[in-house]
Amino acid sequence: MTEVLLTRISEPEAWRIDRYKELGGYEALAKALKSMTPEEVAEEVKTSEIRGRGGAGFPTGVKWGFLPDVYPRYLVINADEGEPGTFKDRELIEFDPHQLVEGTIIAAYALKVNWSAIYIRGEMVLGAARLENAVRDAYGAGYLGKNILGTEFDLDIVVHRGAGAYICGEETALLSSLEGQRGEPRLKPPFPAVEGLYAKPTIVNNVETISAVPHIVNKGGAWYASLGTEKSRGTKIFSLSGHVNRPGNYEVELGTTFRSLIDDYGLGVRGGNKLKAVIPGGASSVWFVEEDLDTPLDFDAIAAAGSMLGSGAVIVMDETTCAVRAAARLVKFFSHESCGQCTPCREGCAWMYKILTRIEEGAGRSEDLDLLLSVGSGITPALKTEGRMAMSEVLPYTTICVLGPSAVTAMAAPLRLFREEFEEHIRLGACPKAAGTGITTQDRKASRG
């Protein structure tokens, strides 16, 4: 385990500003503001080659470089963490909010931004309070407001609470929501870097991405780039959940394998059961099976294996899991969270969910499986009907954002891996798995934090 962002997480009360400072906090801020120009800070971030930790893995330094010379411009931190299986940002915020605040201030300085918002999931009541308090304390300490640390630099940070909508994690939906609108994704182009919040240039970055910035400034971009693999630099927090013995957040150098993550950190599949499948990068990713576990945790390697690293949510399912039920649950989620703008997503997700539920409840028809794939192809026309699914099949898609295509993946990946199980379900008119899941009656080992 190589801990960079999580170093303070087990320190008691690291969320308090005095504790944070004792542990070396706000030194990077002083360094950046007093001895570096904004351009130099941006350059360090570029050198680090860090790729966005929010899901798409786009190189942060490159994205920052897209900002046209237009002011005001904005920095918005995406703390809407809602991708099923992902819980890293919440812990980063609850246990080390100042790390994020410091990163935000430094990034804003580098981007010549004077107003920034942290859009946090409304459900994260405790995290939001800790973050709000951290921001207040940072004002009190002169890290925010006018003339920060005696320099010319001014910055305000507003902690903005969402209100229950997964789609607001999608950056343009997030901006709509932050403008007081329904959280509907916008058409791209224009991209936020050109026309974002209030139609002004805006950078949207994930909590984890920005939390890394103080470390990059402290130790240098080159140091950060020395970690990880050639195309996937640095460390990344993986949220391990599901049927493992020790779920939790683990920060590892990129390049570690899935097997190592599950066995070394997660202490293996629960009860010595056999592995059925792994959702490797959040609910929107194509499922992996046993034979894929030696794939390194690296953006490109996972893509080459047909899936994606995504948000770093690794969900493990053992042999007792019913694939139909899991697929139905995921598609239900996407249908519930569809914003509803695009016909194919709005109608297609709901239809797929209805069919899956029917199958799960024992009223499936033999033609339903082809129908499912056909409905899915209304969203992703290149969807194939046979063989293992690959992420590349979701291109092109007929929707504005990739929520719709994600639902197709969540349906088609398990269907195509476990088609016989679906068919058996239909034939039996019931679930072939005796005990799908089962709640434990004793306390399991709590996850970290």
């Binding site: 005001p72 299986g85 107003w115 409304g122 969900i315 989620f333 089962g438 709640i439 009656t441």
Partner: protein, 192 residues
């Protein structure tokens, strides 16, 4: 409803935090809900008035988000995660158990108005699945026994034991108060 004088002051500070006032829709709706326990039409109307919007516009926004309760709910709110990681750890059985013990179904309040039970999407606590929230406080690795005791406390109007903490354990600022301290915000905006 109508904002209390104190909340009205908070509302004005919230609006002033943003370069454009419309951005305050969500936080003001949270404030209205925290005052009344639910988001009434009057609450939406007042938010619209403060921001110079039509009530229909505010309604349109509010109804997009699941956290706004558009009907009066029970005094305590139990939110059970039903998403994949929790499902894998038995959240369906957990939910059933809670329904049974409450004697009321998901999406409803108990007949005495003590508890409102809802299903929610992933709460970003999958490492502690199955998980739930009571009035926003996280409870993780919830066993059947733990669920029973959570329900019993909630029915008595008490805060259940074993949660992971609430803001009120640490801070005095009211929920929804702006993060920029009074008088310190620069309100950098379009025009400046």
């Amino acid at each position: 409803m109508s904002f209390s004088a104190e909340n009205r002051r908070i509302a004005d500070r919230i609006v002033a935090q943003y370069p454009q006032s419309e951005s305050a829709v969500l936080p003001l709706l949270h404030l209205a809900q925290s005052q009344d326990g639910w988001l009434s039409p009057d609450g939406m109307r007042e938010v619209a008035e403060i921001l110079g919007l039509e009530p229909a516009q505010v309604f349109s926004v509010a109804s997009f988000y699941t956290m706004y309760l558009r009907e009066p709910a029970g005094k305590k709110i139990i939110s059970v995660c039903n998403n994949i990681s929790c499902m894998l750890q038995g959240s369906d059985e957990l939910l059933e158990r809670i329904e049974h013990r409450l004697g009321s179904k998901c999406g409803h309040s108990t007949s005495g108005g003590e508890v409102y039970l809802e299903e929610v999407e992933c709460l970003a606590a999958c490492g502690g699945a199955p998980c739930l929230q009571v009035d926003g406080e996280y409870f993780e690795n919830v066993t059947i026994e733990a669920a029973d005791s959570i329900v019993d406390s909630a029915m008595r109007g008490e805060r259940p034991e074993g949660g992971k903490g609430l803001p009120s354990d640490f801070y005095s600022e009211p929920l929804g108060a702006p993060s920029i301290p009074e008088g310190l915000g620069a309100n950098e905006g379009e025009g400046s």
